[in-house]
């Protein structure tokens, strides 16, 4: 049984090519079942960054490539990559660990691999492959910090706010401006438990629109300083030409910290606010520097994750290699059992004696075959499977049972 992977990903193909072969859950299931017809196995993994067909069978690679070609045309086939056996397994393990993602260690891919597996048509080999891949993905994330750091400006803003407040539950967020970017960052804070209190915008209508969407109160920009008094976090992103918040606007805090995120260019918040005790101001450059630093940390962690994934892939290789000697072991045991039964049938014994001899001879056969069985599996793991299997078949006359 050979394992093949035929796929297309962000590494080799631009989005206009990838989008031709994107499959939803139903299409993935249908294609997997179609390709697995006749006793084969197939799982289709399709995300925004990749469409990959994992398929088992001696002539399966051609069918998988043809399926991709029929979905996306000749260009897809030309940009596709094809891997077999260990290379294919290692690739899936790396994908599950997020090592083949744009942002190393991103968490979404693990769920996508699981969903693809559940929607596919796996057999014994793909069951084991995907089970091991999911295990490798979890292990890489658990034993390294590859997935712990924020990978975007919005998540960096939320993570920094947590550095000040810890739990963000019940923390009050003031949004200055009704733009998309500010809303995205504020939603990142809300996802960690913070609550919106007010949206201050120069245009009342847009402010009210955003406020009603997120369940906050719209306030005129003139009341900004009043709203800051009760806020814990302020997110500013307007197109105002000058500062909207200065040191004089931050008052009556009684030692309570205030975390300010300024995403606007030109900036909305006077940098002097950062000098006030308990105030922490981050502008877009500061946040991007944090993201860059954490991404470089992720890349360093990725090296450790690669070693973990390689170890798991090696375990899978050993298991897959052991499959090569399984038919020989089964033949050997069948031959031994046949000889044992035949010889036993010739003996004239009472029922009680027959039961005793049956037990003893079975034990002898099992003990005799135990060591050769173990050695053959070990040889399979060390890539000597064919040599050993052929030798055993020759020595015990198993050729006819191949």
């Amino acid at each position: 049984m050979r394992l093949f992977l035929v796929g297309i990903s962000h590494r080799h193909a631009p989005v206009e090519v990838r989008e031709r072969v994107v499959l939803d859950a139903k299409q993935s299931t249908a294609l997997a079942r179609e390709l697995a017809e006749g006793g084969g196995e197939c799982v289709c993994l399709s995300t925004c960054n990749r469409t990959e067909l994992y398929i088992v069978g001696d002539d399966a690679e051609g069918r998988a490539l043809e399926a991709l070609r029929s979905l996306g045309g000749e260009e897809v086939a030309a940009l596709s990559y094809r891997l077999a056996d260990q290379a294919a397994a290692l690739h899936l393990f790396r994908v599950a660990a997020g090592l083949d993602s744009l942002v190393p260690g991103e968490g979404e891919i693990l769920g996508q691999v699981r969903a693809a597996y559940e929607a596919g048509a796996p057999g014994s080999l793909l069951n084991r492959l995907f089970h091991d891949a999911l295990h490798a993905g979890k292990k890489a994330r658990a034993q390294t910090t590859i997935a712990e750091s924020p990978a975007s400006v919005s998540s960096a803003g939320a993570a920094l706010a947590q550095q000040v407040f810890g739990d963000l539950s019940g923390r009050r967020v003031l949004i200055v401006g009704a733009g998309k970017v500010g809303e995205l960052v504020a939603r990142g804070l809300a996802a960690r438990g913070a609550e919106f209190v007010a949206v201050a915008n120069r245009t009342d209508e847009r402010g009210r629109e955003l406020a009603s969407r997120i369940g906050a109160t719209a306030v005129p920009i003139e009341r900004l300083a009043d709203e800051l008094v009760s806020a814990d976090v302020a997110v500013a992103c307007t197109s105002a030409p000058g500062f909207l918040i200065g040191p004089d606007d931050v008052r009556e805090r009684k030692g309570r910290p205030l975390f300010l995120i300024d995403l606007a260019v030109p900036r909305d918040i006077d940098p002097a606010v950062n000098e006030i005790d308990g105030c922490y101001l981050y502008d877009i450059d500061d946040l991007e520097a944090v993201v860059e630093a954490t991404l470089s940390g992720r890349r360093r962690e990725a090296e450790r994750a690669e070693a973990i994934v390689a170890g798991e892939a090696e375990r899978f290789r050993a298991w897959q290699a052991s499959l090569e000697v399984v038919p020989t072991i089964a033949s050997l045991r069948a031959r031994a059992e046949a000889i044992r039964s035949a010889e036993l049938s010739k003996a004239k014994l009472s029922d009680r004696e027959r039961a005793a001899v049956e037990s003893i001879t079975s034990q002898i056969v099992n003990k005799l075959l135990h060591l050769p069985t173990v050695r053959m599996k070990e040889a399979a793991a060390a890539s000597d499977a064919v040599l050993y299997a052929d030798a055993v078949r020759h020595l015990f006359g198993l050729e006819d049972e191949r």
């Binding site: 750091s149 550095q163 810890g166 950062n274």
Partner: protein
């Protein structure tokens, strides 16, 4: 033979300090090794203290160096309550080198020996030493929390791009935990001082330099709590105050032992 337990304990604390240093540069496995170092060191030191208690004639940590040995154990015990969590590893970077250094000082002063004879046999004195040392252990932890607070606060203020690489407790958590640690430790110091004063009344004797500085320490931490809970001080100001008060603890523990233990 039991005296030799000093070495595995010191080795483990030293390993923890080194691993915490490595953790600050490359978070991950060094942090776990450091945690185990602290745990193993604590177990070895606990065994050493048990051996000392079983062989001593009277209170085994009545000398200045002996009390330092007990003090180190109390600091590590307090640290172990929550310090081994991944987010608090930065705290270990402050605590473990201090603990290892004080442990060596205790050894050099003969505080890790077995079979010591003591004139501290009354329950009053045992209570006095135990309570004061427990309070000082709490103040040490509070000072470490304040140091980590100021370190993290400075990194946030200066927009250190690598701030999220090393997990650390939030500023509010550090601030609150430091306040609570002092709020628990100060009553222990108060009780310890009361017990000491009662004994002083019974046996006679005057105020020495160490008692005077201990009183100043009590006043400093009392002011800390008053300013924090009555006047709403928090953050950087309370962190500086906790460190200033801890300077008095250092004087009491290290600079003036001869005036009291002789």
């Amino acid at each position: 033979m039991a005296e030799l337990l000093f070495w595995p304990a010191l080795l483990a604390y030293g390993e923890a300090a080194f691993a915490y240093f490595r953790e600050a540069r490359a978070p991950g496995r060094p942090g776990r090794l450091a945690t185990w170092g602290v745990r193993i060191g604590w177990l070895a030191q606990t065994a050493l203290l048990i051996a000392q208690a079983s062989r001593a004639n009277g209170f085994p940590w009545s000398t200045w160096a002996g009390s330092l040995n007990l003090f180190v154990w109390l600091v590590v015990t307090t640290y172990l309550i929550w310090g081994c969590r991944a987010r608090y590893r930065l705290l270990g970077l402050v605590v473990t080198p201090l603990v290892a250094a004080l442990f060596v000082v205790a050894r050099l002063g003969g505080g890790t020996q077995l079979g010591t004879r003591s004139h501290y046999s009354s329950v009053f004195l045992v209570l006095h030493v135990g309570l004061v040392l427990t309070a000082f252990a709490g103040f040490t932890l509070a000072a470490a929390l304040a140091a980590v607070y100021l370190f993290q606060e400075r990194r946030l203020k200066r927009h250190d791009a690598g701030i999220l690489r090393l997990p650390a407790p939030a500023l509010e958590t550090l601030d609150g935990l430091g306040g609570r640690t002092i709020a628990i430790s100060l009553p222990a110091l108060t009780l310890g001082m009361i017990v000491g004063i009662v004994r002083l009344e019974e046996k006679g004797g005057g105020l020495d330099a160490l008692m005077a500085v201990t009183l100043a320490t009590w006043l400093a931490y009392g002011s800390y709590l008053a300013l924090r809970y009555a006047y709403g001080w928090q953050g950087r100001r309370t962190a500086y105050l906790a460190l200033a008060a801890f300077a008095l603890v250092i004087v009491v523990r290290l600079a003036l032992p001869a005036t009291h233990f002789a």
